[in-house]
Subunit: 329 residues, 2 copies
């Protein structure tokens, strides 16, 4: 078994002091080129890697970012998180950070976990997926000056903290315009109850697109909790009440329900979902697609900006979704 390679081993091998090796790693410009190259060769030859624990003890920085992995809720939207996490891991890696997972069943426990992670692992930052009105988690983190980014706008105050989000309204508006351009007039909307930021945003996009085309949206929309069954129920209701020729949904779950409700209806009703989940791809459902990899990358950008000494509050990022057209619209 080979001896453990430390900074001292490298120093001995390159015939310099430990400090010089450290300088080559952390401030290369102050070391003479010839010396630097000698040290770099030694590092390569010995396969030296800086011990993160020791570094962390001095610097207080762990180069670790925490992200929460949620239990797959209805299973359909869970894969959004999955793809986001993958992007996060990849980008964080490139920036020299690693992603640590945690779970929590409620806000209180999640906050307790923050304390735990910060205390024992000295985490550098958190990435929160999804926020709600008056989120106690962001408040807790902000109070303690813990760097964090949310994927999802803070609906209370847009300048409360750095965030990355996808423009949901733009997505539903795009979907709605696509349907209008295809000749539809009675374009309905199935979404979530008023009060959730995300849901209201997505409905607003649909409404604005209709208004811009001089279509009156009143009566053309329904609200419910998320779920396939609910989507089916409300779509049947809409068919009877207003006989829409197309429908935009706030989620793929709702859209799948709508698809089941319109089976056999003639002429066929167009359906567009939201999130472009694997299910949508599987059944050929058109859907609004969020650039999750890009979103994750921008989260890392914002965090590294804060962590690497950029003291000004970074600018929030609002990304544009795209429309994945399949055969339901």
């Amino acid at each position: 078994m080979a001896e453990k390679v430390t900074i001292a081993t490298v120093a001995r091998h390159a015939r310099v002091s430990r400090q010089t090796v450290s300088n080559v790693l952390n401030a290369p410009h102050i070391v003479r080129q010839e010396t630097r190259e000698r040290v770099e060769d030694a590092i390569k030859a010995l396969g030296y890697r800086a011990n993160q624990a020791a570094r962390q003890m001095r610097t207080g920085r762990s180069r670790l970012i925490a992200a929460r992995i949620e239990p797959t809720r209805d299973g359909i939207n869970g894969s959004v998180l999955d793809r986001f996490l993958h992007g996060l891991t990849e980008t964080a890696d490139a920036a020299g950070y690693r992603v640590l997972l945690y779970t929590a069943t409620d806000d209180e426990r999640e906050i307790a976990t923050y304390g735990d992670l910060l205390g024992t692992y000295e985490l550098d930052a958190f990435v929160l997926v999804g926020t709600k009105y008056g989120d106690p988690r962001t408040e807790w983190l902000a109070d303690r000056d813990v760097p964090f980014v949310t994927f999802g706008r803070p609906w209370d105050a847009l300048d409360a903290h750095p965030w990355v989000d996808v423009d949901g309204a733009a997505g539903t508006a795009q979907a709605t315009r696509h349907l209008l351009e295809a000749g539809h007039r009675r374009v309905a909307f199935i979404g979530w109850p008023v009060g959730s930021g995300v849901g209201d945003d997505r409905r607003a996009g649909w409404r604005d697109a209709l208004l811009a085309a001089d279509v009156d949206p009143s009566g053309l929309h329904r609200e419910t909790e998320d779920g396939i069954g609910e989507g089916e129920r409300l779509m049947r209701d809409l068919l009877v009440a207003v006989a829409p020729s197309a429908v935009v949904c706030a989620s793929d779950s709702l859209a799948l329900g709508a698809l089941q409700a319109i089976r056999g209806v003639d002429p066929p009703v167009s359906v567009i979902g939201f999130d472009d989940t694997p299910v949508a791809a599987a059944v050929g459902l058109s859907s609004v697609s969020q650039p999750l990899g890009e979103a994750a990358a921008r989260c890392v950008d914002l965090l590294t900006g804060v962590l690497d000494g950029n003291h000004e509050t970074p600018t929030p990022v609002l990304l544009q979704p795209s429309l994945a057209l399949r055969h339901t619209a």
Copy 2:
């Protein structure tokens, strides 16, 4: 801002030495009860948490487990990983470990990442999801005595390393028996090309169940790469060639394809998929369900067994899947 609470702070507060505090944490039995309680009270009062980096420097153990997060392949089976990771995080947490994510595009790079993670973060163990014949990754890890578990059997040699797996053959057999008991005789199978351990295993379960019921399986099966389109194609082929009344598939993707192929066929053909992915639940597809949370928990069990000084090679774990019956069978 409060002073940072270290073991010395606690020691001062409880009027003992640092070492005694350390003993209370790591070997409570050697400390007198009265003293122990005094120290524990101080820990609580001060909100002390052991600094992991410092602990790691002495012990060489990071209490970190690495798991790979893959890009969602066809999107449908990706959610299996998602659920597994969630279980892993939860169980690891309970055992005092944390899960660190990494990604890699190929085996070579994955192995390079192992070196990196071990060198800089001193990871305690790896969890690999899925293995193949002659997997270079397990070989590399085993050569270096790095603790690891695979979720998925090592198909070459079952005693090569600790593993947890779900009995795929038992799953397809159960699905097949269910169909046989419902009166079906011509129960077909759509699976993957011969040579993948998982695929061969799942096919074997179907074949054995048929043989046990005196049904000749020849001609009743088809093999292809995974995917909805492929499933549809092969199901059409089967319908023409052998007119099966039911089909068991090696994945939900294939089963979804089969579902599309049998639309309108009368009498309806029963379909059972594999993995019980969200898509299956969404469209009402019956499917073989893997106990992913349980699998993750057993992975952590095996690892902690190895890590906490249990030197004997742990026994592999083979879990039984269950049948999630919906309206396609």
